[in-house]
Symmetry: C2
Subunit: 270 residues, 2 copies
């Protein structure tokens, strides 16, 4: 299978760098093909702006989304953006490797999504109108691919538990895992996290490395996070979760399938 | 009072640009002093990397946090970073003006926080050790300041309600409002949001502009979001919310004060 690793750390000798290297080696040993986008090493253009468009639809006022659509449909996207879209399409699984900075991904990776996730590619896909809000959240261009967040965290695991002061990890990662990876159709696995990353002893590294190798072996067999699909029949015409679903839960967890829920309509069906 | 607006949109003629201009004018009319950091216009360096440090503590391997601490304490930070820190310290209120892109702030603004929020300035502040995890979440360098997220959203409000498919707005903004603004001590107001920003008629603009002016008039009098303070007595030594608190809620909402909760220890007391 094909695995695409998007790596976002400025220091090659970092723990993130070691995890990226470990993944490349482990995945190749397992017989997979691997491509890596090392965003810092590539000097990735992090900022989405007018420079992304050679051929502006509206030279007077830039609407980023509209220009993105125009460039995507017209074949005038920047080469760096096209190359990353091709890697996403080539991949059977996508791994994000990054340190959690201010409870989100580093700016360089955020800017990768802003530029690579073009209108028509990652959003604005499928029929819009009436009660149909496009192919998103479990449908879309990247359907059939798996996604894994592998990240390092400075703080302690206890602070990210359901009652921890930072918020539950599931909530902290909601904009990334649900809003960015599941959105264009990828099936998202539970994240791989190394906590207290600034205090990693060689002994603990051995343990964490073993734990990561095991996750990589399960990349194509693990059960993904059971997010409900937007067009699976569980949301109404206003995209609200239908009454009677998500019982006993609140917050983002109402969007997870529960035992006993009605079956979802398979992707690609109206 | 002093208001600092951090503005992150590439197009001056955009709705975000108009909201920024409206805020500057309205706030000055109200007698406030205003400073604006227009990140795109400034060509803000969005990417946190080794180039942020003139005088590396460890030239062999870059730990961003440690170098940030070294530069902050040693007075060798880059001038662009120092200038932004001074604006934060000058301010009585901070407004973030941005479009919601992939359920988060634009990369250029994310990178602003990564670089300006130095170790010793915005984190790593106060006593750490034992059951004390520093001055954060309602205490810290920016205590006494207010913060307001003003943003534009392409989607519909219904999709951001408690049962909406995008997740509740409170959850989507959790990493920003709680994890980034409340973290170093700011009191966070309810966000100001314009939905369906791509379809704004002149008539609706008049309504939204009036609504924003009203929010700006309340900038120093509105009740902030009642996040619990980390050191207010509601979390235990593992930074977990104490038993009996957050009843009837789940997810990020357990971190909001409820009627009948025991009073919190005031900031700055052990």
């Amino acid at each position: 299978m094909n695995v695409f690793i998007i790596h976002a750390h400025p220091e090659p000798k970092s723990l993130n760098g070691a995890l990226k290297d470990l993944a490349v080696e482990s995945l190749r040993d397992l017989g997979h093909q691997v491509q890596v986008s090392d965003l810092y090493a590539m000097g990735w253009k992090a900022v989405a702006d007018g420079g992304d468009f050679h051929d502006r639809e509206n030279p007077e006022r830039m609407f980023y989304g509209r220009e993105s659509k125009h460039a995507f449909l017209g074949g005038s996207q920047r080469e760096d953006v096209v190359a990353e879209q091709e890697k996403l399409l080539w991949a059977d699984a996508v791994i994000l490797q990054f340190p959690l900075w201010w409870f989100s991904m580093p700016a360089i990776l955020k800017g990768w999504f802003e530029r690579v996730y073009a209108y028509g590619f990652a959003y604005g896909v499928g029929q819009h109108g009436g009660e149909r809000w496009g192919d998103r959240y479990g449908e879309g261009t990247l359907l059939g691919r798996r996604a894994l967040v592998s990240m390092t965290v400075g703080g302690r695991e206890a602070h990210y538990t359901d009652r921890g002061v930072n918020g539950a990890l599931h909530d902290v990662l909601w904009p990334i895992q649900h809003g960015t990876l599941f959105y264009p159709g990828m099936a998202v696995l539970e994240p791989f996290v190394i906590y207290q990353a600034g205090h990693l002893t060689p002994e603990r590294w051995q343990v964490e490395a073993g734990r990561y190798r095991a996750r990589l072996r399960g990349l194509f067999t693990e059960e993904p996070i059971p997010y409900r699909r937007q067009n699976g029949g569980h949301y109404d015409g206003q995209q609200s979760l239908k009454e009677g679903l998500g019982r006993g839960e609140a917050g983002t967890r109402i969007h997870l399938l529960q035992p006993g829920d009605p079956p979802q309509v398979p992707p690609g069906q109206p």
